[in-house]
């Protein structure tokens, strides 16, 4: 920058040194803020890893917690891992087809007004607190039929549905219109065009969205508290019409226990859950960038 016409004094009169100092200070604060935000994640992951590692062994997922007060030997949380597997699998089976169909309807069939209305409903659903969804399913199924893994799955499916629908809509919108037209011009019926030409283009996006939704559902505690936490056995069960223990609820209960041995198991379970969720979200991220670049759009 040429300053030959501006003397130092003139610069000072404009307050440039002060402005530059303010600028520097603000930049420094933004760097600090980013460091703090990343520090939170590092701190959490590090604490969980350090405290969970020592208790991490195969017994955690193969042995059940002992029932009763006199407990000897190693205990695990096999019942919770089995329960989470069943509950999340069932929830995915409910939310995935429904979410894809909702997205297909909104993107391929619906008129604008309906599309806007249902989009708002999905956003609202996405914003309902998880604990309220738990209370809702409690009123819907648990009163009358008792708690069950199925009720818990339904609650998780309500949480997953807007996530799956939203991510499917995003990729459906990226499928070029020319592809649909080409297929229709060949005389392929609309339903076959949608199912065998349009949808296959979006598989990557749907996998990404589903992975994120599964990661999300696997860590949810609140929707299961009122639906599948009371009356769970200490043994491994696979039957969804009984209440099943789950990993998040087990961590929640163990974290409030007075026994330090329970805390150790809570940390170990938290480590397993955290590793699963972080791997799932990072791989979904990676898939999303790859998929987007393949469809020729970047964000």
């Amino acid at each position: 920058m040429s300053t030959h016409s501006l003397t130092k004094a003139a610069l000072r009169a404009e307050g440039l040194p002060r402005r530059r100092a303010t600028n520097r200070l603000m930049e420094l604060l933004a760097w600090l803020a980013a460091a703090v935000a990343m520090g939170f994640l590092v701190l959490i992951v590090w604490s969980v890893a350090r405290r969970g590692w020592s208790e991490l062994n195969l017994d955690l997922i193969t042995k059940s917690p002992a029932s009763g007060f006199l407990t000897t030997g190693r205990q695990g949380l096999a019942n919770a891992f089995a329960g989470t597997l069943v509950i999340v699998l069932l929830a995915t089976l409910m939310a995935l087809p429904t979410g894809i169909l909702v997205a297909v309807y909104l993107n391929e069939f619906a008129q604008r007004a309906i599309r806007d209305a249902v989009s708002i409903a999905l956003d609202v659903l996405n914003g309902v607190p998880a604990i309220v969804i738990g209370i809702f399913v409690y009123g819907l199924f648990v009163l009358g039929h008792g708690p069950s893994a199925f009720a818990g799955s339904f609650a998780l499916a309500v949480i997953m549905l807007p996530l799956v629908a939203r991510s499917t809509m995003e990729v459906l919108a990226l499928v070029p219109g020319a592809l649909r037209e080409a297929s229709l011009a060949l005389g392929v019926p609309r339903w076959r065009t949608t199912l065998s030409v349009v949808l296959p283009q979006t598989v990557g996006g749907i996998v990404t969205g589903t992975t994120l939704a599964v990661a999300r559902a696997a860590g949810e505690t609140a929707p299961l508290l009122f639906t599948s936490s009371v009356g769970v056995g200490t043994q491994v069960h696979w039957t969804p019409h009984h209440p099943l223990q789950s990993v998040p609820v087990a961590i929640f209960e163990l974290s409030e226990s007075p026994d330090p041995k329970d805390h150790a198991r809570a940390w170990a379970a938290a480590l397993v859950l955290l590793v699963f969720i972080l791997l799932a979200s990072l791989s979904a991220r990676w898939l999303a960038t790859r998929h987007r670049s393949r469809l020729g759009t970047s964000r």
């Binding site: 935000a37 309807y105 996405n126 607190p129 209370i135 505690t221």
Partner: protein, 332 residues
């Protein structure tokens, strides 16, 4: 967008004389039913929650929200939400005050300051923070954050700012409204930061370069161009963050300690609407208590609807003006 070149109606309706294809009708019917079901779930949630809360609503009426009481003793049952409303307001507003500026600064860092190689990984790390389950954050809050705050942060805040009622005597256990607030701030930080980042990315280059060409410093450009441009969206992001903080149950229950009273001391225990519901999961004494818990959920539901609709309204208005896609945060 659907078939860009064809008029929508021509692709949607069978042509004159063309036979109606069963497959088309079937797919449209099934997909339409799914969309209708998804919309109906919202109504069903409202209906079930109102139904569950009804005995309590008819017993306590609107006084429920102004009364400080939670007495499940049969025969002398009295329930009120005032202390939980107060706890919810204090924790989520203070959390927003802590996390809001931090999140905007993080977004600025990610869009303006970070060296190109750092941008993608730091963005990924910040957004990964949002994926950590609340029960894990709560566990960490009880055994790591709580003791740190109790031993180091609370005493020094009390001794320097103790004249303010907010910074009373430090807690004895580490469970406090303050711990819950910090936990909430951590949970809403990535949500607000990631939405704000997208807003800042949407600021037109010409505006930013124009300001810099006029001789502003980078900070003056941010304050004078970027923040005003993204103002509406930032407001929406903050509302969504607030909604998330208000609805968070598990992590708050784990660290807030409980109690039915109103006080200004951040370092004492307390309860929020969501945490009161969560901690009662092992059963309530009477049907009226269950119904009162659902009443708390009804208040939460109404708040989350209002927060979401107003944020969506702002976002849609901003998006129409700027063509920015916005990520959404979810209440948990």
């Amino acid at each position: 967008m659907s078939a860009a070149g064809l008029a929508p109606d021509e692709t949607r309706r069978p042509l004159e004389g063309r036979r109606v294809r069963f497959g088309d009708l079937a797919l449209q019917g099934v997909a339409g039913a799914a969309a209708a079901a998804a919309t109906a779930v919202v109504g069903l949630i409202a209906w079930k929650v109102i139904e569950g809360a009804w005995p309590s609503v008819t017993t306590f009426g609107f006084h429920f929200v102004t009364r400080i009481a939670w007495n499940p003793v049969v025969g002398r049952e009295v329930f009120g939400a005032a202390s939980f409303l107060f706890g919810t307001a204090v924790t989520s507003l203070v959390a927003l005050a802590l996390a809001g500026p931090l999140a905007i600064a993080v977004a600025l860092f990610l869009t303006e300051l970070a060296p190109r190689v750092l941008r993608a990984p730091v963005t990924a790390l910040v957004e990964t923070l949002a994926a950590v389950p609340s029960v894990v954050i709560g566990l960490w809050g009880i055994y790591v954050l709580g003791p740190i705050l109790r031993d180091h942060v609370e005493p020094s805040l009390h001794s320097t700012l103790g004249f303010l009622p907010l910074f009373g005597p430090p807690s004895s256990s580490g469970s406090s409204v303050f711990t819950a607030t910090v936990v909430l701030a951590m949970m809403i930080l990535p949500i607000v930061a990631s939405i704000t980042r997208e807003l800042f990315l949407g600021v037109p280059r010409e505006l930013k370069e124009g300001a810099l060409a006029l001789g502003t410093t980078r900070w003056e450009m941010v304050r004078g161009v970027m923040v005003p441009y993204a103002r509406g969206g930032i407001a929406a992001a903050l509302i969504l963050g607030l909604g998330r903080a208000v609805g968070e149950a598990i992590a708050v229950t784990q660290v807030i300690g409980g109690g039915v009273f109103i006080h200004w001391n951040l370092f004492d225990t307390g309860d929020t609407l969501a945490s009161k519901i969560a901690e009662s999961y092992q059963g309530a004494a009477t049907n009226l208590e269950v119904s009162s818990l659902v009443y708390l959920a009804l208040i939460l539901l109404v708040f989350s609807l209002l927060a979401n609709l107003s944020a969506q309204w702002v976002v849609r208005r901003v998006a129409r003006r700027q063509g920015v896609g916005l990520a959404r945060g979810r209440a948990g």
